[in-house]
């Protein structure tokens, strides 16, 4: 069984901690995940304009979701950080609109039209992660900045234009070019 790694950072270590929570309800593993991710989720929410007190509450809520849903984590499908990002993002949607949208991002639906990919054709999450890292390196600093603000922090284009003191059209086209580039580099991942 995986043991708790203090200050764990590698993707495999983090995945092992989530798996320990899933398999054994391992509280020490959970505490390690909490120490690593809760302050990051709080930072993530504050960047997206959630007031600090609410961000503190929501970060704890997100970690309780990690505890509840740990069994749904599959390291072959998602990296640990990506999985926890989706939990924090869904919480952000819930709070923003109190609607069902978050559920749509969490759906597991059966493919209607396509045959499932054969196992050897599935790119492992860990491979995808390294491809994603390389793709992020390929973005210019300007592109990276707008991707962070718009995609990660979820800020409206007008706010980004204000923050960066750029015309709205420039912000929009920069985001579009950055996302086109990501698709070029990552579009073959299935």
């Amino acid at each position: 069984m995986p043991t708790v790694v203090k200050g764990a950072k590698s993707s495999a270590d983090l995945a092992a901690l989530i798996e320990a929570v899933a398999a054994d309800q391992d509280r020490a593993a959970f505490a390690a995940l909490f120490d690593y991710f809760a302050p990051r989720i709080k930072g993530f929410l504050i960047r997206g304009n959630t007031p600090p007190a609410a961000a503190e509450e929501l970060a704890q809520e997100a970690m309780l979701t990690v505890w509840r849903k740990a069994a749904q984590f599959d390291r072959n499908r998602a990296g640990a950080s990506a999985w926890i990002f989706t939990i924090a993002r869904n919480l952000r949607i819930d709070v923003a609109r109190r609607d069902q949208r978050a559920r749509l991002l969490d759906l597991e639906v059966e493919d209607d039209l396509e045959q499932p990919a054969p196992p050897d054709a599935l790119l492992l999450a860990v491979e995808r992660e390294s491809r994603v890292q390389a793709a992020l390196q390929a973005l210019s600093d300007d592109q990276m900045r707008v991707v962070r603000l718009s995609f990660f922090e979820g800020k409206p284009h007008a706010d980004i234009a204000n923050e960066l003191e750029l015309p709205l059209g420039t912000v929009k086209s920069r985001i579009r070019l950055a996302m086109n580039r990501m698709r070029e580099l990552l579009g073959d991942l299935t």
Partner: protein, 211 residues
């Protein structure tokens, strides 16, 4: 295999959670039918994960960790949530958990049913069912129109759109779609702004479906 996909920025807004609910429903439907776009969304979630790791952490208040540990309830070792059945079938009155209104006649060969998306304030979400060979009235949009084909196919200036394909149209795109011969076409549509028909038939339809 889908050939027409949503714009990269639309998928990014979906993955970021900033796309409105109506459009999110259309994208979720497309994703259920398109492995390629699912892969891109998963990659974007990896981007989110990478950024989450890089972000400057903000410390929680003292004792937060202990308080959360106190709240951990023993969990039953429940298996994963069962996979949902097919996303849509002609005889079902729900789509990915959203209630569908009854089919209503609009004009010869054309039917419409509302999709109950409570939070879709700025977009209307509905399904259209059109008979094989039907020519839909030529129209323009004042907002965006996001369409996912569920069955059959239509053809317009942008090409042929078959089951699973997504048409992510901007306000400046003019459309005069024709339904493929042989099979009726069912589409899911999320539309912002107004639709402007340029033909007499279109103007007759307009008040009826309040588009």
């Amino acid at each position: 295999m889908s050939r027409h996909h949503p714009k990269d920025t639309t998928l990014a807004d979906f993955a970021a959670g900033t796309l409105d609910e109506g459009r999110s429903l259309v994208i979720a439907t497309h994703l259920a039918l398109c492995g390629q776009c699912r892969g891109f969304v998963a990659a974007l979630e990896d981007v989110g994960g990478a950024m989450l790791e890089q972000i400057a952490p903000v410390a929680l208040s003292d004792g937060a960790s202990a308080r959360v540990l106190d709240r951990l309830a023993p969990r039953s070792l429940a298996p994963k949530a069962p996979t949902a059945p097919k996303i849509w079938a002609a005889d079902r009155d729900e789509l990915l958990g959203y209630r569908l209104g009854p089919w209503r006649w609009v004009s010869p060969g054309l039917h419409y049913r509302a999709v109950d998306v409570p939070a879709a304030k700025d977009s209307r979400v509905f399904m259209l069912k059109a008979a094989p060979g039907l020519k839909l009235p030529s129209h323009l949009h004042t907002g965006t129109e996001l369409t996912c084909v569920l069955a059959g196919a239509f053809i317009h200036e942008g090409g042929r759109y078959g089951a699973g394909d997504c048409d992510d149209a901007d306000h400046d795109d003019a459309h005069s779609p024709v339904i493929d011969a042989g099979e009726e076409c069912v589409c899911l549509v999320a539309m912002q702004g107004q639709i402007k028909f340029t033909s007499i038939l279109g103007r007759m339809i307009q008040p009826f479906i309040r588009l």
